[in-house]
Amino acid sequence: MRQYARVMTFGLVVVAWLACTGCSRTLNEIEPKLSCQISPSSIARLPSPAPPLSHEEKASDWGKEYEMGASFAKEGDFYRAITCFKRAQFFALSKQVDLKHWQYLDWGVFLSYMLGGKYREALDSFESSLLLEDPKSFPAYHDLQALLVEALAETRKKRSKEGKRTGKASLPAIIPALEQEDPEYGRKVRYFFYLSHARLNDLETYLAEQSEPNPDATTRAIKRFCEDFRVHRKSPTAAGLYNALLPGAGYLYVGQVQSAVTSLLLNVLFVAASWRFFEKGDTAAGIITAGFEAGWYVGGITGARLAAKQYNDTYYNQRASQLMTEQRIFPLLMLHYAF
């Protein structure tokens, strides 16, 4: 019996170790799903990067479509706005329209796609646009750069969600260039990049490198967020280990009290029953109950790890979204120009 108990204990330890360490690195990573609410009225209040159209331009086909597109966009009807901007581009083909006007039309299409949540289409429209021609002369150049960072982040997340390999996102070259031209704006875009990819280690390294004696409110808020998250974060490995040592302890660690009690009772009951059946010589019943016990035990370890990951994801997404909305770190909240 002692030998039996020793071997069973050893076997359980091996299974528990395998379950805790596991072959899944993704449980320790956060899946950022950040969102911000933008009202059409806040977009409508922003100035246009384009100067007002002249009388002749307003009377032209492309000018009318452009004004209609801007009007739809200010109401929040981005799909109609895109149609009008593209119709304006079609009419402008036959006229000798200035490069700047073409850029304003391309900007209208790009921004409408971004506000409509169509990030892949926004990137495609940018890559085929005249915004690439002398972009620094475009008044909304900084806004454009920040929005490109957001579009790249969102399309990357979508690819990851589709199961495609994405690897670690490297810092876009746009950000250091933006920091040189406008340090405060560039810093916010960098914060957005790190937070939207949940790269807290890189963010903390960056914050540590900033040697300003009086950091601004945004930097202070981000430091507090990082510290707060480090304190409240749950370790999936620890959750699995606790549940392996004492069924239910992992669930309790992440805050699921009822599940902890249920797990403990089920495991104790089925271990006792299995042991009793084997003692009595009822092998078949012993195997059945041992089979169920293996399910409760291993399932509990896996479940505790998944629960820790779910806790981390929810905590991060709620707090980070709130922080980024309050500090206006989302590029769409940092706009200086719109339609």
Binding site: M1, Y4, V7, M8, G11, L12, V14, V15, L18, A19, G22, C23, S24, T26, L27, E31, G163, Y251, G255, Q256, V257, Q258, S259, T262, S263, L266, F278, T283, G286, I287, A290, G291, F292, A294, G295, W296, V298, G299, G300, T302, G303, L306, A307, Q310, Y311, T314, Y315
Partner: protein, 124 residues
């Protein structure tokens, strides 16, 4: 005693196989419309019997969407018998009124259920 010991160790090894990356009754990637492999048909029949006969005795009682029986069925199809069974057991342990961090979803009848889908293979 030795035979019981051997059987118990075999059972433990069987349950640890998914953790080693090997799944004896692996559910290979298949379309949702494909019929289940024959070796999983038995388990699916038991779950189907519960969903069609037993559960109607006292009505829907799950606190989650999808229900625990659907969750186990999907988990078995997605991850294989052993891993799917373990995920299903975890779901049954959590089948309670703990609010916790779950997202919620309201059914057509107005019931507020906790949204807890089976994890995707790339996230597990």
């Amino acid at each position: 005693m030795r035979s019981k010991l051997a059987l118990s160790l075999l059972l433990l090894l069987f349950c640890s196989l998914p953790l080693l990356g090997e799944e004896p009754w692996v559910a290979s990637p298949q379309e949702a419309s494909d019929p289940p492999p024959s070796y999983l048909a038995g388990m699916e029949a038991i779950i189907a019997f519960h969903q069609q006969v037993i559960t109607h005795a006292d009505g829907p009682r799950s606190h989650f969407f999808p229900s625990s029986s659907s969750y186990m069925l999907t988990a078995i199809r997605r991850f294989g018998f052993v891993q799917g069974f373990c995920l299903g057991c975890d779901r049954l342990i959590r089948e309670n009124s703990d609010e916790w961090v779950y997202r919620t979803i309201r059914t057509r009848d107005g019931d507020l259920l906790k949204w807890d889908p089976v994890p995707l293979p790339q996230n597990f």
